[in-house]
């Protein structure tokens, strides 16, 4: 039965090659756009190494500071605020403090090399699961002792040392000298938590001023004992902020904020909603709505093309009905044909998405981007393709199959 359907499906598609091409083109193009969008989203926000503990990690990214006059600002918290109030949160497994990556210039043979520099504590390496290519991370002891050690990424190793083993070699960054203790693979720039080219201990900062700052350029990672603890930690953080004693209450009197995931902070940035509960769910809902809207146009086009194609076959429909095909059977047949078409379109879409993502990755527009089509994205794409097939096949097929055979045979649709 299926074989018969497939046989005729192929014949029909080949009969009107141009319109088959149009349908395939529309489906694959939409798929490429959607898949690239999903891959982008997945690349930036979904858990990937080295964020191996993302399921039980929360971050402190932005804090809302208020001055007595009512003026306020959203800023990164300072070291003092995080060290005194976040490191001391109860019931957490580990806390790490690290800076926002800044650009640092080094000179090699007179030529400037610009790298991103991030200062972290030892706990940073214990929460994140980096796969060291050489050596290992620096430790909390290094941080305490103020040792000038550094972890660098592959590309930095190549830029400075031409790719040879570098542990225990020295590197100059922004006027300071560090001993390399480890090398890690490149981290994509969009993964802002781990991202950098060079990582060094916080205590190697050029001045000590950061130790007293409540507003600064630091962020924190909180590792919970289990995912179930996350809500509790959120609550604790919220209430801890209300108990903060500021050094200069005339300057800043209040701080509010949330411990949250990267998705939360991205959602807030897009929806401009920084107060209260995370709008992550709303953000995802908007994205899904956008995806659906994106698919509406091509679906409508497909329906139109299908209606015409089926109308052309009214004679065949009449014959099949005359010989005992029920309306349901006919709808089934046409849906199979349409799903076949859209699966082919889907396949083309996959291949093209692969190519496009590879192109974006290798173009260097976004440093170290590693777009991949993983199984999650595969299933989204498959779902979208099937949605297309069913949606655009059912309506025209149903319309046509309801005709009396005599009407269909006459050719009037």
């Amino acid at each position: 039965m299926l074989k018969n359907y497939l046989k005729i499906a192929f014949k029909v598609l080949l009969r009107r090659k141009f319109f088959t091409f149009i349908s395939l083109f529309g489906i694959s193009l939409t798929l490429v756009v959607l898949m690239v969008g999903v891959a982008f989203f997945d690349h930036s926000l979904a858990p990937h190494p080295p964020e191996t503990n993302a399921g039980r990690t929360l971050g402190v990214f932005l804090v809302h500071f208020t001055a007595p006059g009512g003026r306020d600002s959203y800023s990164f918290p300072g070291y003092a605020l995080l060290d005194r109030y976040v490191r001391t949160l109860p019931n957490v497994e580990k806390v790490s403090l690290y800076t926002f990556p800044t650009t640092a210039v080094s000179y090699k043979d007179g030529m400037p090399i610009t790298s991103y520099l991030k200062r972290t504590d030892g706990e940073f390496w214990q929460i994140l699961g980096f796969d060291f290519l050489e050596g290992g991370p620096f430790t909390s002891q290094d941080e305490k002792d103020g040792n000038f050690v550094a972890v660098i990424n592959q590309t930095t190793r190549k830029k400075f040392f031409g790719g040879e083993p570098v542990v225990d070699k020295f590197i100059e960054v922004d006027g300071q000298h560090f001993r390399v203790v480890g090398v890690v693979p490149d981290v994509p720039m969009l993964r802002i938590v781990p991202f950098s080219d060079i990582w060094v201990p916080i205590s190697t900062s050029k001045t000590d001023a950061y130790r007293k700052q409540f507003i600064g350029s630091f962020m924190a990672m909180i590792l919970a004992r289990s995912p179930a603890d996350l809500d509790m930690i959120r609550a604790e953080y919220r209430s801890t902020l209300t108990r903060v004693e500021f050094p200069d209450p005339k300057d800043i009197s209040k701080a509010t904020g949330e411990a949250e995931t990267l998705l939360d902070i991205v959602a807030r940035t897009f929806l401009l909603d920084f107060e209260g509960k995370s709008p992550a769910r709303r953000f995802l809902a908007w994205l899904i709505l956008l995806m659906v809207l994106f698919m509406v146009l091509p679906s409508i086009n497909l329906i139109n093309i299908n209606v015409s194609r089926i109308r052309e076959r009214s004679s065949e429909i009449g014959v099949r009905k005359a010989f005992g095909a029920s309306s349901l059977t006919l709808v089934g047949q046409f849906v199979v044909e349409n799903v076949l078409l859209t699966l082919v379109g889907g396949l083309i879409g996959f291949v093209l998405s692969f190519a496009v993502l590879h192109l974006i990755g290798s173009s260097g527009l976004i440093p170290y981007a590693q777009f991949q089509l993983n199984y999650r994205i595969f299933f989204v794409g498959l779902g979208i393709t099937l949605f297309f097939g069913l949606f655009s096949g059912v309506y025209p097929a149903w319309k046509m199959s309801r005709l009396h055979p005599a009407v269909a045979l006459r050719g009037r649709g």
Partner: protein, 221 residues
């Protein structure tokens, strides 16, 4: 077996009304071989369509073996079309994308049969109409007479109890026409198939048991 009561068939567009059938009352008994005659536009094909459940009357009832078909659900009508009825169209209506064998198999697709079963029955039907040598050809490669024979094979492959033929010899020469008539007659005689045939050839009508005459959508004598 088939009974039409007060059947009208009216075609309506936004401005024009065409009466194709007007107050038809007739009965077809099992095993009959009937011809339907009348000038062009008299409603012959329409009558056949109604008898063959290809169309529904605007008014009146159609009864098949006692059951009022006009009120049946689509699924049940489909069943009847599949098991009880075989239709031979004047313009063949073969599916050009399928081979002769695949065309003949179509009615069997809607029954629960294995592919090998279907193949066997289809080949038997083609043998009956003398087309065993053209099984894998496509309709475009056949002559008019051969296409008509494929249409007949398709109509009989499911062994229906009722066969309806709309001008089955209309596009054929007299020799071919006679051959077709022979097949119909043998089906009626041997398998006791009820046959209803539209024709405008009095010679053929004479070979049937009785003739229904139509004029302007009405039965006349």
């Amino acid at each position: 077996m088939i009974r039409l009561t007060n059947v009208d068939k009216v075609y309506r567009t936004s401005q024009i009304e065409t009466v194709a059938l007007n107050n038809i009352n007739m009965e077809v008994k099992e095993g009959e071989f009937i011809s339907v005659m009348g000038p062009s536009g008299s409603g012959k094909s329409t009558l056949l369509n109604v008898l063959g459940l290809l169309d529904v009357p605007t008014r009146g009832t159609v009864r098949l073996n006692g059951g009022e078909v006009t009120s049946y659900r689509d699924r049940d009508i489909a069943r009847i079309r599949n098991r009880e009825i075989g239709f031979i169209f004047q313009t063949y209506h073969l599916i050009s994308d399928l081979s002769v064998l695949d065309n003949v198999e179509i009615p069997l697709l809607y029954r629960r049969l294995w592919g090998s079963e279907r193949r066997k029955l289809a080949l038997a039907a083609l043998e009956r109409v003398g087309l065993s040598s053209r099984v894998h050809h496509f309709p475009s490669q056949l002559s008019g007479g051969q296409q008509q024979r494929v249409a007949i094979a398709r109509a009989i492959v499911g062994m229906p109890s009722i066969l309806l033929a709309d001008e089955p010899t209309g596009n054929l020469d007299s020799q071919m026409g006679d051959e077709i008539m022979d097949i119909l007659k043998s089906l009626n005689r041997e398998e006791k198939t009820t046959v209803m045939m539209v024709t405008h050839d009095p010679r053929l009508a004479a070979m049937t048991m009785r003739t229904v005459r139509l004029f302007d959508g009405r039965q006349v004598n």
